[in-house]
């Protein structure tokens, strides 16, 4: 670096260095006196300094989260969050309790095995294959089944029991009924509720429960002191092998992207964004560059990897190279 050298000409780079504070006192003095002699340079300098100063300030625009702040203001104005729920029902939902009782379902699974679910007419099995499927159960509870998921219930559902066996992932909006608790059996665990809405995702090692409305108590049936108390907008992860719950976490909106059809980001690093997208569509991510830059608020359709990436590319004017090879998403410069 030749910082202390006498400056021969005032070119663009010199001006940039001047603004960046890269010059020493003598050089600054020299530049300023030369600029004074040249009206055109003086004008250029004035414009550049304005841009330079303003650029530092417009960074604030990026800190403003209009949607989040609108939600806060809307609440203060007294507008309901989304659909209007009569007060009594709203209150009732808050009081709903969800119990994740590990171990109980084992018994039920045993029973189910014996009666052979598929062949018994007293059991109803609903499955979703390539598309989402919305089901309204006899008690008006609404279940949205994710792809490759299924649920099973028997013909006493809504009369004597509200038991469901879930394989895969589903979103539940449970009709409140204090007399018959709503129970979902997943692997060797049970989710029991009165009325609330939540998402259950079953994977090889974990069961994830995310609560959209209601108050939820999650615990192991054998060890009730091992519990997590969840409210609206919280989630927890149950590890099937260690039998432990993760600390509760803010509900990840993208965890129900399969239902809402929208993946949304706001201020996360691009690395995180690509990881989330790849994971959502079941791809592995290979990053050939570091992506520390933060994304601004964006909603992407979660229909297919291709479409999501195309939308990402057009909304934020990305210039990375994105390549899909088999089950791998590769990002490079």
């Amino acid at each position: 670096m030749k910082e202390d050298k006498y400056i021969n000409s005032i070119n663009d780079e010199t001006l940039a260095k001047y603004l960046s504070g890269e010059l020493d006192e003598k050089q600054i003095e020299q530049i300023e006196s030369e600029i004074m002699k040249n009206a055109e340079k003086e004008q250029e300098m004035r414009e550049l300094s304005q841009l330079w100063e303003k650029a530092a300030r417009v960074g604030d625009y990026e800190k403003i989260n209009v949607d989040a702040d609108w939600t806060a203001v809307k609440t203060r104005m007294g507008f309901r969050k989304s659909k209007k729920i009569p007060f009594v029902k709203y209150f009732a939902r808050i009081a709903a309790i969800l119990v994740l009782a590990i171990g109980l379902a084992y018994l039920l699974n045993q029973v189910m095995d014996k009666v052979n679910v598929a062949e018994q007419s007293s059991f109803i099995k609903l499955a979703a294959k390539d598309e989402l499927r919305e089901v309204v159960l006899p008690d008006k509870t609404i279940v949205t089944l994710n792809r490759n998921s299924s649920l099973t219930y028997n013909d006493n559902y809504g009369l004597e029991n509200r038991d469901i066996i879930l394989a895969g992932e589903a979103f539940f909006d449970v009709e409140r009924n204090e007399d018959i608790p709503f129970k979902v059996f997943v692997d060797n665990s049970v989710v029991e509720v009165l009325g609330t809405s939540f998402n259950i995702h079953q994977s090889k090692n974990n069961i994830k429960v995310g609560v959209v409305s209601g108050h939820v108590l999650v615990y192991e049936s054998d060890k009730k002191d091992n519990h997590v108390d969840l409210v609206k907008d919280e989630q927890t992860l149950y590890n099937k092998s260690t039998h432990e719950f993760s600390a509760k976490d803010a509900l990840d909106e993208n965890s129900i992207a399969w239902k809402t059809g929208i993946l949304s980001f706001d201020g996360e690093s691009f690395e995180f964004v690509f990881e989330t997208i790849a994971e959502f569509f079941g791809y592995d991510l290979q990053l050939n560059i570091s992506l520390n830059e933060k994304i601004s608020q964006v909603n992407l359709p979660a229909s297919s990897l291709n479409e999501t990436l195309e939308n990402l590319e057009s909304t934020i004017k990305l210039e990375y190279n994105m390549e899909i090879k088999g089950k791998k998403l590769i990002i490079s410069d």
Binding site: M1, D12, E13, L15, A16, K17, L19, S20, G21, E22, E44, R46, E47, L48, Q50, L51, W52, K54, A55, A56, R57, V58, G59, D60, Y61, E62, K63, I64, V66, D69, W70, A72, V73, K74, R76, M77, F79, E293, K317, L318, E319, Y320
Partner: protein, 184 residues
């Protein structure tokens, strides 16, 4: 949405009308307030309070001029009150008090200035990725060129070249707008 239809809907308390108003002007107003307060959180609070207050007083909502002007003026008044309440000696507030007849004029310029800032933000967003990243690290995060070079494992010379490039592109794009607002 047409002006009087919007006003009518605001008076009637339609959520969509408030949402539209909020989403259109919120960022600009926060920046506007921040220009007086140099305090981002208070700026957000003041603008949010304004929207809530418009809603609460919707039955008596009286906007004859443009909604935009009304919002800017209200934010400005709230900022000045806020500064007085804080008993902070603020030169700008003093100035405004003394020259209150110039406020309208000043307001026009402020609105203009915020247009330049928006255009600048867009133009920064359209810079080539590497150039944009480096420019933002300098201006938004306040890092020196040396720090940026270190973080990105580039030579300082490369960083300087990219900054120069960014300034050149930005000036070319925004020159007409800068000169319109040069007096501010």
């Amino acid at each position: 949405m047409q002006h009087d239809i919007l006003i009518k809907q605001l008076r009637e308390g339609h959520e969509k009308a408030y949402e539209l108003l909020f989403k259109t002007y919120y960022s600009d107003l926060v920046i506007h307030a921040n220009r007086y307060l140099y305090d981002f959180e208070s700026a957000r609070e003041i603008v949010q309070d304004l929207f809530v207050s418009i809603y609460e007083k919707r039955y008596n909502l009286d906007i004859n001029s443009s909604i935009k002007g009304y919002l800017y003026r209200s934010v400005q008044n709230r900022c000045i009150n806020f500064i007085h309440a804080q008993k902070t000696k603020n030169k700008y507030a003093e100035y405004v008090k003394e020259h209150s007849s110039d406020i309208e004029n000043q307001l026009e310029k402020e609105i203009h200035a915020s247009q330049l800032e928006k255009a600048l933000l867009n133009a920064i967003g359209e810079l080539p990725p590497k150039c944009r990243m480096i420019f933002k690290m300098n201006r938004f995060e306040g890092l020196s060129n040396g720090d940026i070079a270190e973080r990105l494992e580039l030579s300082k010379r490369t960083v300087e070249t990219q900054i120069t490039k960014a300034l050149k592109i930005l000036r070319n794009k925004l020159q007409p707008l800068i000169n319109e607002t040069a007096t501010i």
